[in-house]
C-alpha cells in the first residue's frame, strides 16, 4: 500500500550494465547500453532487428505520405490524388470547420479564446502549488467561477457580443467542455456515491447501490437517448433545456457511477486503524473523510481514475447520436464536402493528433502525480 517503499523508474534493473559503465565516456556508455539491452541474447537480437525493420518500413511510408508526396494549398483535389500523399490543402481549407464546427465563421475567435481560457484554467489547476494554501484555494475558486463565466459569455454572447445559440456550439470546444465539466462534476458526485454506498444508514446505502447498479447496467448511448427524448416529456412544455445540458447531465450521471466504484475500491484499501485514529482524536465523519480517508483513498486510485477520464474524453463523441457535433462529428462533416470528395484521412489524422496529445498529457500528469506523492511518503525520499 502507500507505506511501501517503491523505488521508481528502473524497470529493467537486472539487465543493466555493471556500475563500472558509469566511468566510461557517454558514447561508450551508450554503446554498452545498446549491446546489453538490445543484443543481450540471440532472441533479443532477432527481436531488435525485426522491430528496427518494422520501424524503417513504417517510417518510410509515413514520411512519404506526410511530407514527400503531400501537397499543400493551392493544390487541387486532382493534384493531391495524383501525388498520392496527404492532401494538406484539404486540411488548410477545413481546419476551422473541424475545430469549431457550425459556430458562425466570422465569430471563430470567440471559441478559440474560450478554449485558451479554459485550457489556462485547467493547466493552472493542475499545478499543485495553486492549491497549497487556503488563501490560494479561495483564489482558485474565484478564478474558476470568473473563468467559466467568461467561457460561457464568449461562447453564447451577450455584453455586446452577438448571440450564438447553444446548438451551434461544436467541435473541439464542445468536446473539451463536455469532458472537463463532466470530469469535475462527476468526481464530486462519485465521492458522494462511494461514501453513500459505504454509509451505515440503510436508506442512503440502498439508494446509492441502486443508482450505481442501474446506471452501470445501461449503455451510455441509451442514457444519452433517454436524456434527449425523455426530458422534454417529463418537464413542462415551456421549459427548454438545451441539448448540451442534457448531454452533459447524462455524461455526469453515467461516469459518476463508474467512478464511484473506482473510489470505493480506494476507500476499501484504507485500514480500519485510520478510522480509529480519527475517532480517537475526536474527529467527526466529514472531517475524517475529507482530511484523512479520502486523500489517501483517492491517491490509490489515481491510475484507474485517469483511465476513466481518458475514456470520458473520447466518449464525448457519442453525443453525435443526439445530433451534436463534437470533434469527431465535425471531422466527419468536413469530409462530406463535394469539393474534396473522397478525402478523409487528413481530417482524421488531424483530430487523432489532438486526441493523442490530450490523452497523453492526462496519463503523463497522472504518472507525475503518483511519483510526486510516492517520493514524498516513502522512506527513500
Amino acid at each position: 500500500m502507500l507505506s511501501d517503499t517503491q523505488p521508481q523508474g528502473q524497470p529493467h534493473g537486472s539487465s543493466r550494465p555493471p556500475p563500472v559503465g558509469q566511468v566510461h565516456p557517454p558514447l561508450r556508455r551508450a554503446l554498452l547500453w545498446i549491446w546489453t539491452n538490445l543484443f543481450g541474447s540471440v532472441w533479443n537480437s532477432v527481436l531488435t532487428l525485426v522491430v528496427l525493420w518494422l520501424l524503417f518500413v513504417i517510417g518510410r511510408g509515413m514520411l512519404g505520405w506526410l511530407v514527400l508526396d503531400a501537397r499543400t494549398a493551392p493544390a487541387t483535389l486532382r493534384e493531391c490524388i495524383d501525388a498520392g500523399g496527404a492532401c494538406w490543402a484539404f486540411l488548410q481549407d477545413k481546419w476551422r470547420l473541424i475545430l469549431f464546427g457550425t459556430y458562425p465563421h466570422e465569430q471563430h475567435w470567440r471559441p478559440a479564446l474560450a478554449l485558451a481560457l479554459f485550457a489556462s484554467l485547467v493547466i493552472a489547476s493542475c499545478v499543485p502549488a495553486s492549491w497549497a494554501t487556503v488563501e490560494r484555494r479561495r483564489w482558485m475558486f474565484g478564478i474558476w467561477l470568473l473563468g467559466m463565466g467568461g467561457v460561457i459569455v464568449l461562447m453564447s454572447g451577450g455584453f455586446g457580443l452577438p448571440e450564438v445559440p447553444v446548438r451551434l456550439w461544436s467541435g473541439l470546444p464542445l468536446t473539451v467542455l463536455l469532458a472537463v465539466v463532466g470530469m469535475v462534476s462527476c468526481f464530486f458526485l462519485a465521492i458522494l456515491l462511494a461514501l453513500g454506498r459505504r454509509s451505515s444508514m440503510p436508506v442512503v446505502r440502498w439508494l446509492c447501490i441502486v443508482y450505481i447498479e442501474v446506471i452501470r447496467g445501461v449503455p451510455l448511448i441509451s442514457l444519452l437517448f433517454m436524456a434527449n427524448i425523455m426530458t422534454p416529456l417529463i418537464l413542462p412544455a415551456d421549459v427548454v433545456v438545451p441539448n448540451l445540458v442534457r448531454a452533459q447531465i447524462a455524461f455526469i450521471m453515467f461516469f459518476a457511477a463508474y467512478l464511484a466504484e473506482v473510489i470505493r475500491g480506494g476507500l476499501q484499501a484504507i485500514p480500519a486503524s485510520q478510522y480509529a485514529a480519527c475517532k480517537a482524536l475526536g474527529m467527526g465523519y466529514w472531517t475524517s473523510m475529507i482530511f484523512v480517508i479520502l486523500p489517501q483513498a483517492l491517491r490509490i486510485v489515481i491510475p484507474s481514475m485517469v483511465n476513466l477520464f481518458i475514456a470520458m474524453f473520447k466518449d464525448t463523441s457519442l453525443v453525435i447520436v443526439i445530433s451534436m457535433l463534437d470533434l469527431l462529428g465535425t471531422a466527419n462533416a468536413a469530409k462530406a464536402d463535394p469539393a474534396w470528395m473522397g478525402l478523409f484521412m487528413e481530417a482524421y489524422f488531424f483530430i487523432a493528433v489532438i486526441y493523442v496529445l490530450v490523452c497523453a498529457s492526462m496519463s503523463w500528469y497522472s504518472r507525475w502525480t503518483e511519483r510526486r506523492i510516492g517520493s514524498r511518503q516513502s522512506r527513500s525520499a
Partner: protein, 247 residues
C-alpha cells in the same frame, strides 16, 4: 495529587457476537492516577480501554468518564473523545500528512484553533518527545520509535485529561522501546491520568500507581506495584503471569 474518580466501570459486560470478552468489570480510576493493565493476549485489555473513548460499545453495565455516561449510540462518545487521547500499538499516524500536519489536524478541525496556534502547540509537544527536528518529515520516513513518539505528541496536542496507551511498545524493535517509555515517563510526571496496556514491567514498577491484571475478560488483580511485585503478597495468578512474561 490523586483526585476525584474520573473513570468508572460498573459491572460492565461486553460480547463480540457470542464471544464474551469483558465479564463484570468494575474499575475506578481517579484523576491523575496512572494505571497499568496487563494480562495474556486475548484477555480483553484493548477492548476494555476502547470503551473509555467509545471506540467500542458495551452491552451491560455502565462506563462513566468525567461524569458522562458513555454510549456510542447516544453520541456521548464524541463529546468525551476530545478529553481522551489514545496511542495505538501500530501508531496509526496519517501517512499522507507530515509530522507537523498530523499533530495540527485535530486541534484545528476539532478544537477550531487557528493555524499558528495549532502549530505552536504541535511544536511544543513534539519538542517534549524530542522529535521537533523531524516536524517536516512524513511518517514513512521515520523509525518505529520516532513514529510512536509522534503519535504521543499528536494525542497530547488535544490537551487530553486522560491518555490511553494500547501496547505502545510491542510493535517496536527492542532498541526503540526505551525512547518511547521515556516519553511516557515524562508524561506521567505531568500529572495526566494514564491507562497503559503494557507488558513492560519495569515501566509499571516505576510509574504505575496500580497494576491491573486481566484474564479471560475478568480483572483478577488490582494492586499497587509494591504489592504486585512482592512475592510474599502475590496471588498465584500474578506469580504465574510474571513468570510467564519473564520466561
Amino acid at each position: 495529587m490523586v483526585g476525584q474518580p474520573l473513570i468508572r466501570f460498573r459491572n460492565v459486560n461486553k460480547w463480540y457476537g457470542s464471544l464474551h470478552v469483558l465479564r463484570d468489570i468494575d474499575l475506578t480510576v481517579r484523576d491523575g492516577e496512572r494505571v497499568v493493565i496487563c494480562g495474556p493476549s486475548g484477555s480483553g485489555k484493548s477492548t476494555a480501554i476502547y470503551l473509555i473513548n467509545g471506540l467500542q460499545d458495551y452491552q451491560q453495565g455502565e462506563v462513566e468518564v468525567a461524569g458522562i455516561r458513555l454510549r456510542e449510540a447516544d453520541g456521548t462518545a464524541h463529546d468525551i473523545r476530545r478529553h481522551v487521547g489514545m496511542v495505538f500499538q501500530q501508531f496509526n499516524l496519517f501517512p499522507h500528512l507530515s509530522v507537523l500536519e498530523n499533530c495540527c489536524l485535530a486541534p484545528r478541525k476539532v478544537l477550531g484553533l487557528p493555524r499558528q496556534e495549532a502549530e505552536a502547540r504541535a511544536m511544543e509537544e513534539l519538542a517534549r518527545v524530542r522529535i521537533a527536528d523531524q516536524a517536516q518529515k512524513y511518517p514513512g520516513q521515520l523509525s518505529g520509535g520516532q513514529q510512536q513518539r509522534v503519535a504521543i505528541a499528536r494525542s497530547l496536542c488535544m490537551h487530553p485529561r486522560i491518555m490511553l496507551f494500547d501496547e505502545p511498545t510491542s510493535a517496536l524493535d527492542p532498541e526503540m522501546v526505551g525512547e518511547v517509555l521515556e516519553a511516557m515517563r515524562d508524561l506521567a510526571r505531568r500529572g495526566v491520568t494514564m491507562i497503559c496496556v503494557t507488558h513492560e514491567m519495569g515501566f509499571a514498577r516505576a510509574v504505575a500507581d496500580r497494576i491491573v491484571l486481566m484474564e479471560a475478560g475478568r480483572i483478577v488483580e488490582d494492586a499497587p506495584p509494591a504489592r504486585f511485585f512482592d512475592p510474599s503478597q502475590q496471588s498465584p495468578r500474578v506469580r504465574a503471569f510474571l513468570e510467564n512474561i519473564l520466561a
